[in-house]
Symmetry: C2
Subunit: 425 residues, 2 copies
């Protein structure tokens, strides 16, 4: 029964049936968390060898002869840079290796711009009110950084090939207060799409009123494919160089979803000019990052092929979970004509669009059954989804079986919310 074609009586009958089912779930006392893009223990277990790969004093010397246990090596080890260069498809010279969190590298890059400006002689962003473009649905922690820095967050709709570029171009052309844009270009959080080459090209070639406009290119899922074939992503620096806009881009990535979310290595890729400028401040902030952990990572994977094999093992764990959710949506929602969702070929999220005005209600119905979703609205600036329609599903943490149950609960709740909304009219 397609809900929007059904009579009031038919809907009422369906609702009664669904509510009986809902009560049954209540008794089960479920406890399922689909709220955060958190790898599961089985995924972590894949990296057990990381714990002991560097196990003796004599093994602590890097390829370039550095005792990794001691001070030095601000930029990171060359053997680690090579992996990041492979992931981001840039030369090692562009890489600055960080610590456990790429989010921190983004925060710090943003903070540097706030305090010191994007380059020599540039005004600090903090000198005047600034705005930031937030393609939505997007990553809540990105938006939170801008918000905590006092930016006005500007929502830009996300399309199948990236942010709506007509809107982006129109906004940045005339407003010098817009200082940048947040992007997760591959297997986007949460919509799962990958930016088209045209989108990338437009981002790096567009005219910006702000001379100090920056693209925060969070390539968090660059090698996080679920299937053999990877979504192609254009290498942004190469395109940017064509337009002389290489300095516009900061690229980030990490091993948070490769080895340990709570003990990994991150990196930032920058143009030579940006890198030299950032280094001046970074050298004041710390002497070096954790080189022992860098060496562990480099030795554990050996080479890029080793890393790719490791990612296939991740995919084998994650794929069934994604497919369980998608199959359930197909079975449960399609017949009712509600919802549309992404079928991502990588990353950590499925984005579900429900009838307008029903996402929050669905979220709370789920919560009451013990199924925790990312709060409705969280993927939008200020946590407000103007249509109240989007939910972010993170299928990685629960088991495939649990994901199936959780998705069933979600569909049940979405149907109840949809009918109640229709009956309101």
């Amino acid at each position: 029964m397609i809900y929007t074609n059904a009579t009031k009586e038919e809907l009422q009958a369906e609702l009664t049936k669904l509510k009986t089912e809902y009560e049954k779930y209540k008794v089960l006392g479920l406890k399922l968390d689909m709220s955060r893009g958190k790898p599961c223990a089985e995924q972590m277990d894949l990296s057990e060898g990381l714990l002991t790969v560097v196990s003796k004093n004599a093994e602590c010397i890097s390829e370039e002869g550095l005792d990794v246990r001691n001070y030095g090596g601000l930029d990171g080890l060359i053997e680690m840079k090579r992996f990041f260069a492979g992931i981001m498809n840039v030369p090692t010279e562009m890489i600055f290796v960080g610590g456990v969190s790429s989010l921190r590298m983004m925060y710090d890059a943003y903070a540097r711009n706030m305090m010191f400006g994007v380059g020599d002689g540039m005004e600090p962003w903090s000198k005047a009110p600034h705005k930031f473009l937030c393609p939505s649905p997007g990553y809540d922690r990105h938006f939170a950084i801008s918000q905590s820095m006092g930016a006005e967050l500007i929502t830009v709709p996300m399309r199948k090939d990236g942010p709506d570029m007509d809107t982006v171009e129109r906004l940045v052309k005339d407003d010098p207060a817009i200082k940048g844009i947040w992007c997760v270009p591959k297997y986007s959080n949460p919509t799962g799409i990958t930016f088209s080459e045209e989108t990338v090209r437009r981002l790096v070639s567009m005219e910006t009123a702000a001379k100090d406009f920056r693209i925060f290119w969070d390539n968090a899922y660059g090698i996080h494919d679920l299937y053999e074939e990877s979504d192609p992503l254009a290498e942004i620096f190469t395109l940017a160089r064509e337009y002389g806009n290489e300095d516009r881009v900061y690229e980030f990535c990490s091993f948070a979803k490769i080895t340990y979310s709570g003990g990994n290595v991150s990196a930032m890729a920058m143009s030579p000019r940006n890198r030299a400028y950032a280094r001046k401040f970074l050298s004041k902030q710390f002497i070096c990052n954790d080189k022992v952990n860098q060496l562990r990572h480099a030795r554990f994977f050996g080479d890029f092929e080793g890393l790719k094999a490791h990612m296939r093992a991740h995919a084998d764990i994650l794929r069934p979970k994604f497919e369980a959710v998608l199959r359930t949506f197909e079975e449960q929602l399609t017949p009712c004509g509600i919802g549309s969702w992404s079928s991502p070929r990588g990353g950590y999220f499925i984005s579900l669009d429900l009838p307008n005005g029903t996402a929050k209600h669905t979220y709370w119905l789920c919560a009451d059954l013990g199924v925790v979703l990312t709060p409705a609205g969280a993927t939008f600036p200020y946590g407000i989804d103007p249509n109240d329609s989007n939910l972010r599903i993170a299928p990685s943490f629960p088991s495939a079986e649990e994901m199936r149950s959780a998705a069933e609960v979600l569909c049940l709740c979405a149907k109840i919310a949809a009918i109640e909304k229709l009956l309101e009219k």
Copy 2:
């Protein structure tokens, strides 16, 4: 021969003798680095067990049941907090556990104050020109942070019991632009002294024109004793509470000179109000620090007694190096009546005061023989020692035998510089 009592002829003869000796050293082609407070490989070797103490998937669960490999635990693990609480002598509730670098925690705390102010409703430090007190000789990297944030650095003389408190009190009483002071309260870098209880009390009780004045209390050498008996240091928060000034203090420490300088754990202790405020920003900056490494550290030491035993092993390595330098100074400089130096009972440095106007010359004479010291002046704001008299000696990295040679070279060069200065007159 006491140089200042000698005749010009006597000095000239001595200089000729010393220069012959100098030429002999030249041929040796020495390569000795006493420039940075860098632990030696033998010290790093003490922590070999750290590499494998957490070696299996099943061992990755913290005392409170957290999978340390995964996200979560912004503040750090309780088992790690306990060690820091022991080092800083504060309750675990005051601790925020950081990553590999306490310098970064200081930089970030400073940056937060620049961007957001020290507390709710307080003006960001960046809103107006600010000044910072730099007890000197002091730690160059501290001063560099203030300088990079645009502060005017104000030199305050260091005494045997801490910064000259008459000067400090006089300055902060009337000038609201003075926002804080850098302190290494125990085995101070580089003078090796420990602040007296009276100094600590005056720091936390003094009247400051700036309501947002902060003490950056870098307790880097809190348990880094060279001898059984430790210099007593008053616990600053307890004293600060007596005067209602607990919020004035940020305390820092780390395992950089306990386990691996390039792979350790740091921490910051704060008043409850400061901690709650900082947490708001820290939670935007990252999800967690490296909890795997925290667990490694906690398990490797087991308990505080284990940590203390480890520090005694460090002392056994370091003590002969310090003593080699001090003995050489005593043998070589005392008979000439030049120089005065600290005899620290812990920490990483010996501070040497030479006749005014001879430190730089001595530094370059040493450099020409292949003996690298911390650049003369580096321990003062802007790298300028007004008397050109102070040198910082870092005896940890070379072997005791090398330290003896290096100290002999240093004494030789100091004597040459002293005589040449006297002959100028």
